[in-house]
């Protein structure tokens, strides 16, 4: 593949992102609207883009799709459908130059662009260059979604070539590729003798970021003599101080700022709170055990965490109860949902952390449902990068006076 065909590096992508929407809208009118189909017959034979540059311009406009905050319910999407039709008939060697636009895409735009490009890929058949696809897949500067899409197209055409690329992806920033790389190693290790398999599984455990994969690896290792602390591997915050219970009858407490919350952004006064360390396999803090089994109540929990670097990280919380989270006194997320499932990393939101010590405050609300499955009053929380690598540590627990 020629260098000019590789699509933008991250810095170029940023420049593309900054181009004015007015220019983009004007360009879209020029490149897409002339081809708006008046009938199904027109849709079947759209006018192909006249140049690769025009194809890329269509791809970028599709990627913007319905813009963030734009009410899609008032948008005529026929022009987007017509643009996708035009992209669907580009020559095979124009497809990959259009692909980087995925990195610019709004949620709707990603799907508009994908549907146009995948139709083009279907038409291209074997005309799509395997070598060029492999270069996109292995270029870690590109967005994960771009690389994963290219990987799928490559696998459809040359599965052995695609799978060979996984050998270098055990630490890949693209989560799906990393998962496939771990999976390949796990499958290969199944035929190895036990010691070699254990070594390989330990490497995979360090690389894996998906919870189900980590559980499987840890399960095998535990059965073969390695004790794996799953909560530590996943990086759950396990040491907390827990408040007394406050009233949450009829859900009134969720929106009410009780003293621990009312003092924010100043840290809550936690003297007299109960120190709780989770021994749960998944780092859960069980408030029924820490306080008492109660209904229609809420409690706060505070943890001190240490971050190696300042910056943005993902706060990931799971709870069957309504929860709200603050980091260093600033709100991060709030979900007023009761007993509608529970999962690790159920709610994820970005927060800004300082290098060094930080304070995380959780508000966890129990309702008054009486069904047995609504008894749980608990949460689990971890702080990760975008791939799921744990970032927070906790200072050693001070000895009791």
């Amino acid at each position: 593949m020629r260098a000019s065909d590789r699509g933008p590096a991250p810095s170029e992508a940023w420049a593309l992102r900054r181009r004015g929407s007015l220019r983009a809208a004007a360009l879209f009118v020029m490149v897409a609207w002339p081809a708006c189909p008046a009938s199904a017959a027109d849709a079947a034979s759209p006018e192909p883009p006249r140049s690769q540059a025009e194809a890329v311009a269509i791809a970028e406009q599709l990627a913007r799709g319905v813009g963030p905050g734009q009410p899609s319910g008032s948008v005529d999407q026929a022009a987007l459908a017509a643009a996708a039709d035009r992209l669907a008939v580009v020559p095979a060697d124009w497809i990959l130059p259009c692909l980087p636009a995925i990195g610019l895409a709004t949620p709707a735009g990603g799907n508009w662009l994908r549907t146009g490009l995948e139709r083009a890929v279907e038409r291209a058949g074997d005309g799509l260059s395997i070598d060029d696809l492999a270069m996109v897949v292995t270029d870690r500067r590109r967005p994960a979604r771009v690389r994963s899409l290219a990987y799928g197209w490559l696998r459809d055409r040359a599965a052995p070539r695609a799978e060979a690329l996984l050998d270098g992806m055990l630490d890949d920033p693209a989560l799906d590729l990393r998962r496939d790389a771990v999976e390949k190693r796990l499958v290969a290790a199944e035929s190895a003798e036990e010691t070699a398999r254990r070594d390989e599984y330990r490497r995979c455990l360090a690389a894996a970021r998906d919870v189900d994969q980590i559980e499987r690896i840890a399960g095998w290792l535990s059965e073969h003599g390695d004790k794996v602390d799953i909560a530590a591997v996943l990086g759950f915050v396990r040491e907390w101080r827990v408040s007394e219970a406050f009233d949450n009858t009829r859900g009134v407490g969720f929106a009410k700022a009780y003293p621990p919350e009312a003092s924010l952004p100043a840290p809550p006064e936690t003297s007299g709170w109960t120190r709780v360390e989770s021994a749960d396999r998944h780092g859960a803090i069980d408030l029924n055990a820490a306080i008492a089994t109660k209904k229609g109540v809420l409690a706060y929990a505070v943890a001190d965490v240490r971050m190696a670097e300042a910056g943005t990280a993902e706060v990931r919380i799971g709870s069957p109860c309504a929860v709200a989270v603050w980091v260093n006194g600033l709100p991060v997320m709030a979900h007023e949902i009761y007993h509608a499932s529970e999962a690790i990393d159920q709610y994820v939101a970005a927060a800004t952390f300082r290098a060094g010590p930080n304070t995380v405050l959780v508000k966890c609300c129990q309702n008054e449902q009486t069904e047995p499955w609504a008894a749980d009053w608990k949460f689990q929380l971890r702080i990760c990068d975008a791939v799921g690598s744990p970032l927070a540590t906790q200072p050693a627990t001070p000895s009791p006076p």
């Binding site: 199904a40 849709a43 079947a44 319905v66 963030p68 009410p71 899609s72 319910g73 008032s74 948008v75 005529d76 999407q77 026929a78 987007l80 459908a81 996708a84 039709d85 949620p107 709707a108 990603g110 799907n111 508009w112 994908r114 549907t115 995948e118 979604r145 799906d176 998962r179 998906d210 189900d212 994969q213 979900h335 007023e336 949902i337 009761y338 509608a340 499932s341 529970e342 999962a343 159920q346």
Partner: protein, 401 residues
């Protein structure tokens, strides 16, 4: 038992909607959402090796039913470690060959309970286009050639919509309006979208309570095409075109099985089975039966009869006019798929893959049992004497007799 003196007049005046060609099965529970295939007969014996026209492995998991539109069998699925890859697949009805396959990224939440799936809602077609709603609250419309016409990323527009048990409601196309019911603890609403353009026609808020029921289309003299919305606290009847409320009824309703229509009544699962007459000024039910009750599967109404499968796997058949139980037969297993009627035979598929054929004439009697491997939560489809059975990951076409 309450008398139903006013019913004959209303029954004579009331018309229920059914828009698709007779050979199609275009939506959840078939034409008009009735679950009835008149004048058809299916074979009574099949297995993995006998009586199967074709079997296709699908690209992901689903609890949604197949639909039949012209020469196409259309299914939905989700795949990937996070189940965030959404699929709409059209298969050739005669051969099972893939005609087209569209893939999208989910833009909303994809956590679901293991018994459900991100692709839980059954797609719907008006013969020109296919609409599919996923648990991520993504709504896509494609034409019969697989061309994306429009999309609505409802979780982007309403960030607190959806729930982590999984959204299971199927969309309906009623008189040119796509109606979707987003019942959850967060942003709950019903949306009417122009089927051709994807542009809002109307939106109304709903109680912040989860449910997994689907809108039911019906026509009422003086009101035209309407849609019945069932929530846990009652029924809400609205005009499909503009969302104006025509009637409402307060009462306990089930959160999963969907009401069935019978003459002028709707038979509503809830505390047993309750018959109510839409538009009646009197809020009192026409009748209420504790002997006819539904578990997960929706009731089936035809002629003067009503059938329900309860949580114990007992199929009961009663009189639609007064709810009197006529007979029962014990099936086996748990039933997530709703029963359908083909000719005079009730087809009931349990979760373990066993299909019971039950004579609906006179005392209910099992006339055949046939088993296929897999987990079956999807309601079957039928067209031209062929039965389409979908497991979580595969689709079988049972050949016509």
């Amino acid at each position: 038992m309450r008398a139903t003196r006013r019913l004959p007049l209303l029954a004579a005046a009331m018309l229920w909607s059914a828009t698709a060609a007779a050979a199609d099965w275009p939506e959840f529970l078939g034409p008009g959402g009735c679950g009835v295939a008149d004048g058809q007969a299916i074979r009574t014996r099949w297995s993995e090796t006998e009586g199967i026209a074709w079997k296709v492995d699908l690209p992901g998991r689903a609890a949604s039913s197949p639909i039949i539109v012209g020469d196409l069998v259309v299914v939905t699925a989700s795949s990937g470690p996070r189940q965030d890859q959404l699929h709409i697949v059209a298969l050739d009805r005669a051969t099972g060959r893939t005609v087209w396959h569209r893939r999208f990224w989910a833009t909303g939440r994809t956590l679901v309970h293991p018994t459900s799936a991100v692709a839980a809602g059954t797609p719907a077609s008006d013969g020109e286009r296919i609409v599919a709603l996923f648990s991520s609250c993504d709504l896509f419309a494609v034409d019969l050639a697989g061309r994306l016409l429009w999309q609505r990323n409802l979780a982007v527009e309403h960030p607190r919509s959806g729930n982590d048990v999984g959204m299971g409601s199927s969309p309906r196309i009623v008189d040119g309006t796509v109606v979707v019911q987003i019942d959850c603890q967060g942003d709950a609403f019903t949306l009417g979208v122009d089927a051709a353009s994807g542009i809002d026609r109307w939106i109304v808020p709903r109680e912040k309570l989860a449910s997994w029921t689907s809108p039911l289309g019906l026509s009422l003299p003086g009101h035209g095409a309407c849609v019945l919305l069932q929530g846990q606290q009652g029924l809400d009847l609205r005009r499909a075109g503009d969302g104006v409320q025509v009637w409402s009824w307060q009462g306990a309703c089930a959160g999963i099985p969907v009401a069935a229509r019978s003459g002028s009544m709707v038979l509503v699962p809830g505390d047993g089975l309750v018959a109510v007459v839409p538009t009646a000024a009197d809020a009192a039910p026409a009748w209420r039966s504790s002997k006819l009750s539904c578990g997960i599967a929706s009731p089936l109404a035809w002629g003067d009869s009503i059938a329900c499968i309860n949580r114990a796997g007992v199929l009961g058949i009663g009189a639609a006019a007064d709810g009197q139980l006529r007979g029962q037969v014990r099936l086996a297993g748990s039933f997530w798929a709703s029963p359908i009627l083909v000719g005079t035979t009730i087809v009931a598929v349990n979760k373990e893959g066993k299909t019971f054929l039950v004579s609906a004439a006179g005392e209910p009697k099992i006339v055949a049992e046939n088993e296929l491997p897999g987990t079956f939560t999807a309601t079957p489809a039928v067209a031209d004497g062929s039965l389409y059975l979908r497991s979580e990951t595969a689709l079988w076409k049972v050949a016509a007799p």
